[in-house]
Amino acid sequence: MTKITYREAVRAGLREALQSDPRVLLMGEDIGRYGGTYACSKGLLEEFGPERIRDTPLSENTFVGAGIGAALGGMKPIVEVMTVNFSLLALDQIVNNAATIRHMSGGQFNIPLVVRMATGAGRQVAAQHSHSFEGWYAHIPGIKVLTPATVTDAKGMLLSALKEPDPVFIFEHAYLYPMEGELDEQAFPVDISKAAVRRPGRDVSIITFGGSLWKALEAADRLATEGIDAEVIDLRVLRPLDAATILTSVRKTHRAVVVDEAWRTGSFAAEISAQIMEGAFYDLDGPVARVCSAEVPIPYPKHLEDAALPQPDTIVRAVRELLAR
């Protein structure tokens, strides 16, 4: 086990991908000379050259579309979109082409494309750089949606995504990049079809993903001091969703709290809640609870941003309410 930051883990994954397959190329805004907005691709231009590390213009729809075309043409492009908010400019190519061409062509074409982007709030960068839209993307059949929360997943999911014949979207919570963790090389290749039980427990299932995982784990530690034994599930993959792991956990604990940094209305948390209702209704001792962001565009001042987001405090409170303690 080596200690490494999340950012270094992503970079290690990118480097290994570039070294192992000449068809891999990186494209994105400021990934070359600048070194990547979050420094994930720092040094790669010097190491692999401008043919494979391509700075793109600020043309999200076109460079994501070019990634689709390059994948159709036999390359393995990894496209970086700086921030999830900017990826909305590429929705046409993502939804209308990346997700549909395989089905619409009767299986003749597949698109081995990997798109990475930063998501989430907590860095005081206000409403146009802080949102969490991975749940929206998880709505779309034809693409896969990954949310690595640990350093092992940050590197491993990227490498596993590159082995996929279909488009894979990786959402990296921006708050995690400086986080240090133990890289578990034994876990490689990581399985990108399963959720993970990050903390076993028997009283309540806290179901979450991405940046909220660490808040949920902190909440679980605090609850433990009060004698509440929480199980924490890291979804890891939002599409295709591993519902079995969720249902197994809920059948054991009989209570579920879903933590999702997106807004509550129409959130992925709503989907998880519905799946629990459909699959484990009679195992529940109470209604499924949700801890989501307040229904506001994320504000700039720290106290308001903190108040808008799920926090260990709010998770603890939701669990206590559910257990009527």
Partner: protein, 317 residues
């Protein structure tokens, strides 16, 4: 040209009979573009087309049977019937659609050209061809209003990619005339803003289309970067089968019909003594037989089983 025309006339007839549904965007009037342009490309080149792509698929070489079956929505269609009129695909001929979001094919063509530039060339090609695989990207005048048009020209020129932007300017974005949606109606001129060389071509003259396209393809194959051709053409039929054509006059359509690419070319060949009534009759008979076979192929085709509904959403299921 005649093959495209007769195929589409039959498609329109089958549409009225209810055999074909959905949107059916006919190419009638614009045949000189596909027929003139596509022979300039080799089997190793890639082609990206729009929702008005019957002519492109036919000239590219996809047999008429699978195309007709696709219109029927049958499993023996060129996309297993999943796409219909707007979504012809043929991997064996590097035909990447059949894409029906206006402008959406341009970035994909840029990416295909990038892959062509970077990937290891097929060993079956000789040295000259290895250097020169290109991507043909067809789009209409409506696409010029999309951001993707501008972004794609910029990126292709910036990266010197071997892509030909082939604009089929039929002067109408569905029902909106070019002058109603563009402040600058000279499309070829716009390419200069991105340092992309361009030319305007008479899209009603198959020989002019052929000559201009060959020249442009040769230039792109040498590695000089992208090229834009604006074919000025005209659609004789409505935008789709639902279109009442309230946006243009009968006189305007009649005027363009005098420049019908098939009849004008026929007249020219007759004047040169290269075409006789008998030659023409022979062509008509051959095409009629081909269409009859294609309809029979489509009629006999099976429906995709409902159990396969969720097939090919992902490669592995």
């Amino acid at each position: 040209m005649l093959r495209i025309r007769r195929f589409e006339e039959k498609s329109a007839e089958l549409y009225s009979l209810g055999k074909i549904r959905g949107f059916l965007h006919l190419y009638i009037g614009e045949e000189a573009v596909a027929a003139g342009a596509l022979p300039a490309f080799t089997a190793e080149d890639a082609v990206v087309a729009t929702y008005r792509e019957h002519g492109h698929a036919l000239v590219r070489g996809t047999p008429m049977g699978p195309l007709m079956a696709e219109l029927y929505g049958k499993a023996n269609g060129c996309a297993r019937g999943r796409g219909g009129s707007m979504h012809f695909f043929d991997a064996s001929r590097r035909f990447y659609g059949g894409l029906a979001i206006v402008g959406g094919g341009l970035p994909i063509a840029v990416g295909l050209a990038l892959a062509q530039k970077l990937s290891t060339p097929s060993p079956s090609l000789d040295e000259g061809e290895r250097q020169g695989r290109v991507t043909a990207c067809f789009f209409g005048d409506g696409a010029v209003a999309e951001g993707e048009f501008h972004e794609s020209l910029n990126l292709a020129a910036l990266w010197k990619l071997p892509v030909l932007f082939l604009c089929e300017n039929n002067f109408y974005a569905m029902g909106t005339a070019l002058a109603r949606h563009q402040s600058q109606t000279d499309i070829a001129f716009k390419a200069h803003a991105y340092a992309v060389p361009s030319a305007v071509v008479d899209g009603m003259d198959v020989l002019a289309v052929g000559e201009a396209t060959r020249q442009a393809v040769n230039s792109v194959r040498q590695g000089s970067g992208p090229y834009l051709l604006e074919y000025r053409t005209y659609r004789f039929r409505a935008h789709s089968m639902y279109d009442a054509e309230l946006y243009r006059t009968k006189e305007e359509v009649a005027k363009w019909k005098q420049r019908d690419p098939i009849t004008t070319f026929e007249t020219r060949l007759r004047e040169l003594g290269w075409l006789t009534d008998a030659d023409l009759q022979e062509m008509e008979d051959t095409i009629a037989a081909e269409i009859e076979d294609a309809v029979a192929f489509a009629e006999a085709g099976p429906w995709e089983p409902v159990e396969d509904l969720e097939k090919d959403v992902y490669t592995r299921t």
